[in-house]
């Protein structure tokens, strides 16, 4: 007996997001691909750009929480227990990481690579 069926996930997400699901998946796949390609091309992370994208990532996490509150008709004082803090951390974390990766990839492909010597450790 299958415990987990990806088709059910897909069905529920499709009902929840409609065509947005595919847009979001496309952005996610393209974003990660662009990020990975950049890493390969540059041979590592560029620390300055990484810090910039991480700073924006902090805002991205906040944005994710705002969107979450909006679509779930929630306020900002509704958390009531550990499971709630976990969910908040999860949403914030996903928003932050997704934003940081996207911003890093966009900046990397838009701006020329900085001078040698600024490569950060991975």
């Amino acid at each position: 007996m299958k415990e987990l069926d990806p088709m059910v996930f897909l069905a529920v997400f499709q009902e929840m997001l409609g065509p947005m699901l595919w847009v979001m998946l496309l952005v996610a796949v393209l974003g990660v691909a662009a990020f990975a390609a950049l890493l390969v091309r540059e041979g590592g992370l560029v620390s300055r750009r990484l810090v910039q994208s991480e700073l924006l990532g902090l805002l991205g996490g906040v944005l994710a929480l705002v969107i979450m509150a909006r679509v779930s008709s929630s306020g900002f004082t509704d958390a009531g227990g550990p499971a709630d803090w976990f969910l908040i951390a999860l949403v914030y974390g996903m928003g932050a990481v997704a934003t940081a990766i996207l911003v890093y990839a966009i900046l990397g492909w838009l701006r020329p690579r900085p001078k040698k010597g600024t490569l950060a450790r991975a």
């Binding site: 987990l4 088709m7 059910v8 779930s72």
Partner: protein, 448 residues
């Protein structure tokens, strides 16, 4: 064999992520329970069986989808006179001012699977002896198997003086009636939350759909008053029909504590008998006689019973507590009718203990369908429904308790150690507002 795709024993699934697989929800968990999956991979059983599904609500549509996925060549017909489909778990959110009226409205036809016929007429007669169903235009459909999914009837007529056309006026609310009534109820509550006064809540005796809903609405009303700084101007009373606030004792006790905390006065064994809409007086039958109680706002929950077409058929219980209201006499674990083995009842019409909820539907339908398919293939199903149901019991706007239980009043936990069943949590509210409807719609389509 197709039925092999469903679990041998649904009881063994108990608990683990059922809510999610079921009506539950976060996609995160969505998946568990093979019972949720209509054997996409398995071969469909070939058959010429004629299957009639009386009723195109949640239970009827979910049954149609599963049967269509499992059977090849069967004649499957859904009969329902209502063109609109209502996502009933959303009614409370409309009446809470959280969602617009359109949130719950779609159409029956959009969930009818390919190969299934929809007859947009009312079921006028059920003849299990002749194995036939007659529609209101006189069309007679004979069947090899009947799935009874008629839902229930809101018996507003049992409350003297009640007039459903006045819902939304003079402090009269009644959520269950329709999406329009739920929206009108919000108008009445919205006004009450500004002015305060006496607010009356409660539930009828007998079986009812989503017994948590009257409790939820009391909490929601309390919260709206508090948010506007008017709680001190209001007196909220909950008129329980029995000595308990909820059928599951541990939940009833928790609700008692919450009502005490929120200052909701509880009166037991108070049954709404009549209402004077003009003078705003509700009359209750109590052990001490009748009691007249004035109000500024009231949420009327009517008594519920089987639709007339079922009550007038040989299908209801003939004795016991469910005979009078006409609930179908089915085995509580297989949903198979006790006297007419080719008849199954799922959803609200099933005369089984506990929840009449969409979550019940989610877990009843695969069991009933597996037994029906087992009859066709000659390989009897071992699946059993253990009474699992769930209710995200809203305790204020933004928080709910995720309550799941079974026939034996056991609390069932989908997320042991993560989501405590009697804890007021935001995550449970998130499930209610975000994930339940997509999961429900997926269920209708046979995809969850």
């Amino acid at each position: 064999m197709t039925t092999d795709a469903t679990p041998r024993n649904t009881a063994s699934l108990a608990g683990r992520r059922r809510l999610l697989a079921g009506l539950g929800a976060l996609p995160l968990a969505g998946a568990m329970g093979a019972a949720a999956m209509p054997a996409q991979a398995a071969a469909r059983a070939r058959t010429q069986a004629r299957i009639v599904i009386a009723g195109g609500g949640a239970a009827g549509l979910a049954s149609a989808s599963r049967l269509a996925a499992l059977l090849d060549g069967a004649s499957i017909t859904v009969i329902d006179g209502r063109k609109a489909h209502y996502y009933q778990p959303g009614f409370t959110l409309i009446a809470a001012g959280v969602k617009p009226q359109g949130y719950v409205i779609s159409s029956t036809s959009e969930y009818i699977p390919t190969g299934v016929e929809l007859i947009a007429e009312k079921v006028a007669e059920i003849d299990p002896e002749g194995k036939a169903v007659v529609t209101d235009s006189g069309k007679r459909l004979t069947y090899d198997f009947l799935i009874l999914a008629t839902g229930l009837e809101l018996n507003y007529g049992a409350i003297e003086g009640m007039d459903t056309t006045r819902i939304g006026t003079s402090g009269l609310g009644s959520i269950y009636h329709s999406p329009q009534a739920a929206a009108a109820t919000w108008q009445a509550l919205n006004q009450f939350a500004d002015t305060g006064g006496v607010g009356l809540f409660g539930r009828p005796p007998g079986e009812m759909k989503c017994a948590g809903a009257p409790l939820k609405y009391t909490f929601i009303s309390d919260d709206h008053l508090r948010r506007r700084g008017n709680r001190g101007k209001a007196e909220l009373m909950y008129m329980a029909q029995s000595k308990s606030l909820f059928g599951v004792p541990i939940v009833a006790e928790k609700v008692r504590m919450l009502f005490q905390d929120r200052g909701v006065k509880v009166h037991h064994e108070h049954v709404l008998q009549s209402i004077d809409l003009g003078r705003r007086i509700a009359t209750y039958k109590t052990p001490a006689g009748t009691l007249e109680q004035g109000y500024d706002f009231i949420n009327v929950v009517p008594p519920m019973r089987a639709p007339e077409v079922v009550r007038n058929s040989p299908l209801p219980w003939t004795e016991g507590p469910w005979a009078a209201d006409g609930w179908a006499d089915v085995d509580k674990q297989t949903l198979r009718h006790k006297r007419y083995p080719e008849v199954f009842a799922v959803g609200d019409i099933a005369g089984v203990p506990k929840g009449k909820t969409a979550a019940s539907v989610k877990w009843q339908v695969p069991v009933a369908v597996s037994h029906l398919v087992g009859d066709i293939t000659g390989k009897p199903s071992q699946d059993r429904y253990d009474g699992y149901t769930s209710c995200p019991l809203i305790t204020r706007l933004g928080r709910a308790m995720l309550i799941e239980f079974d026939y034996q009043d056991n609390l069932v936990m989908s997320f042991p150690g993560v989501i405590a069943p009697l804890e007021e949590l935001w995550i449970s509210w998130v499930m209610k507002t975000m994930a339940l409807k997509p999961t429900y719609i997926s269920m209708l389509r046979g995809r969850a």
